[in-house]
Symmetry: C2
Subunit: 369 residues, 2 copies
DNA sequence: GCTAGCAGTCGAGCCCCGAGAGTGCTAAAT
DNA sequence: ATTTAGCACTCTCGGGGCTCGACTGCTAGC
């Protein structure tokens, strides 16, 4: 593949949309170069074919001839924005060009009416819990964008507990924690030998009372405190509960949602089987998705775009991610995003992700109060 | 595609392994034809290339010349077991041939030792709930077989409730039902206006007591009964709880687990993008997977195999499914399976699915007591 | 009934060729 | 100093034609 000219520096500008703020290292583009570059990227996104100077002369509306544009294109290629699949073909954008294109996008693209209504309709339906909402959200996002979608549930670590119980299930004891988002976490509690049902009941009632309104770490502290004063029978149980709480806090694997993976199977850009397989593998690995989305929204922006090699996962270097955090109150609690080819329709993806993130925030906020 | 000769009758023998029992409609094959057919299918599964008479003469060990085998092959093709991609190529199996091959498989293929140990190890780890187990199970199955895996959770309809509660979450009330499998179902209860916290607490405690040990429909009856006698404030709430219970009973969409989809991306048999996309679309549609697995295990066998067009979903006609129910006690409560190309390694898939279903049954049984 | 042998069929790979698309460069024009 | 017209050059893509080789089906003889 003639990809050798793609920009090496993985993170010239790691964040999403820097809307006008220049990276100091990047040479400024002349008006005309910028216009040409934008037109080229736009057309390439539309057609997927390398763009010729002639085509740009006609569509970009600069009133200069194709020969002039050819000179500019040569310069842009020199600067690392473009490459030619082969000597006598048009030019295609590198990651750097997409970055430029995305950074220059007008501030707030709007969703089309029909789509906006679909978003509103989805979130208007009564949904019981964040889990249920997110499952639907990935489907919604994929339907809107025709790309694969991912979502991260709020980390329970920061959420308030509305209920905690111990339940006997089969031979084991299950610690059940319900959060203000409607999320439910469960953990097996290693059972101390020969525990009576009454003890269990009593402890369960005790923690239900004691944990209400606390966070996981708060609850854990309380459990340990109470364990100290308690009679031996309860003591062990409480300590085990504290352990389970810690485990819940640490684990996050279950909180990745995935949807619409069938949409990107037919992407021309993922023609090579191997590319597609590696992307799917990564998407199935919760830790990978977690890492990717975390990094995507690390910088505090409403929408982040991660283009090609900006992605921390090499498997994703031929893909782009458009991601946004969603909030409950003022703090970001989770992330949603879409995954498509670097040649994705950024305008559509950004507006869809933005709209969904907004409504999702409201929905989660309504739940969590 | 030269697939026109594939058997038309979608369900000559709908079930999995009939191990020797003949379908009355199917003409009996001579010893030699059977041996040739088996050898051919085996080789085709191994190589993916049409098999020649010469190759069979060498490997099948029948002591006859390729010319003789050619005659037999012509007959088998006539009977619908084989087809030629083109005139001068070897033969490939039709669905009917795979069906024959699978039906003739020796009774209980064993898993290789290392794999068996992986299965045992997975189920030896303490797992909190059926959900958690199944999530891991699909991963395990896919790792073993290199195909995509699906699993159906036990329908909560038949399970016993170990706990039911009402919890205030944000502005809504959440009905939380915990089953003996560790599964948790939650449903928003349409809130009657201006309900006091004490009422809620009281009702919650009441249903916790009253529902313990019942099934969903049992609990629903109890709720409605109690509603009759109750004071108006509680009455409405109880009726709404009954409604929510009915909804839980009816819904099953959330109970489909999917894993290892990246494994089948590179399947040569799904070379055509469209084929792969349709398969993925179907796998993402819970209702479709539900229908497929239901039909697969409809006949009471330890392992069911659904080959190509035997599948009720046309999207899956180029794929095969190996499925098995898992049990808690004597009743089948859920299903697991793998999805691969019709040319899949049935022996490996069957032994993996069987082994996993067995251990899974034990694990679920241990949970549900 | 089996098999050796042979003619016939078809796909895969290769080369060649021409058409077409698009570039880079040069030299003239502004 | 730009811009542009013009032209030579490069490379892909598709088709046609070719050979090679892998199989088959069939026939005739064992």
């Amino acid at each position: 593949m003639a990809r050798s000219k793609v920009s090496q520096d993985r993170r010239a500008e790691p964040t999403g949309r820097s809307a006008g703020a220049e990276a100091p290292t990047r040479r400024e583009l002349s008006e005309r170069k910028a216009a040409i570059l934008r037109a080229l990227v736009q057309q390439y996104i539309r057609t997927g074919e390398p763009v010729s100077s002639e085509a740009l002369a006609q569509t970009a509306g600069l009133g200069v001839s194709s020969a002039t544009i050819r000179n500019e294109l040569a310069a842009l290629e020199e600067m690392g924005y473009l490459f030619q699949p082969h000597t006598s073909s048009g030019r295609a954008p590198t990651d750097l060009a997409y970055r430029f294109f995305v950074d220059m996008l007008p501030a707030r693209p709007r969703l089309r009416d029909a789509e906006w209504r679909a978003v509103v309709a989805f979130f208007d339906a009564a949904l019981a819990s964040v889990d249920e909402i997110l499952r639907g959200t990935t489907k919604l996002l994929s339907r809107l964008t025709h790309y694969a979608s991912v979502a991260l549930a709020p980390s329970p670590a920061a959420r308030a507990i509305v209920r905690a119980e111990l339940v006997r299930v089969g031979p084991g004891i299950l610690l059940l924690v319900v959060f203000d988002t409607g999320q439910v976490e469960r953990r097996l509690v290693e059972l101390p030998p020969a525990r009576g049902e009454e003890d269990l009941e009593r402890t369960s009632r005790a923690i239900t009372e004691a944990f209400r309104g606390l966070t996981l770490s708060g609850a854990r502290k309380v459990a340990l405190e109470r364990a100290k004063g308690a009679e031996p029978a309860q003591r062990l149980l409480l300590e085990r509960v504290a352990e389970a709480l810690a485990q819940i806090e640490a684990s996050q694997a279950e909180h990745v949602y995935l949807g619409g993976v069938s949409y990107i199977v037919s992407e021309e850009a993922f023609r090579r089987r191997e590319t597609l397989q590696r992307i799917y593998e990564a998407l199935e690995r919760e830790s990978a998705v977690l890492r990717m989305l975390r990094e995507a929204v690390a910088v505090d922006r409403p929408i982040s775009v991660m283009i090609g090699r900006e992605n921390p996962l090499p498997e994703m270097w031929e893909a782009s991610v458009v991601a946004a955090p969603y909030r409950a109150g003022s703090e970001a609690v989770g992330t949603i995003g879409v995954v498509g080819p670097t040649r994705m329709d950024y305008v559509a993806a950004i507006s869809a992700v933005r709209a969904v993130a907004e409504r999702l925030s409201r929905a989660v906020e309504a739940l969590a109060g």
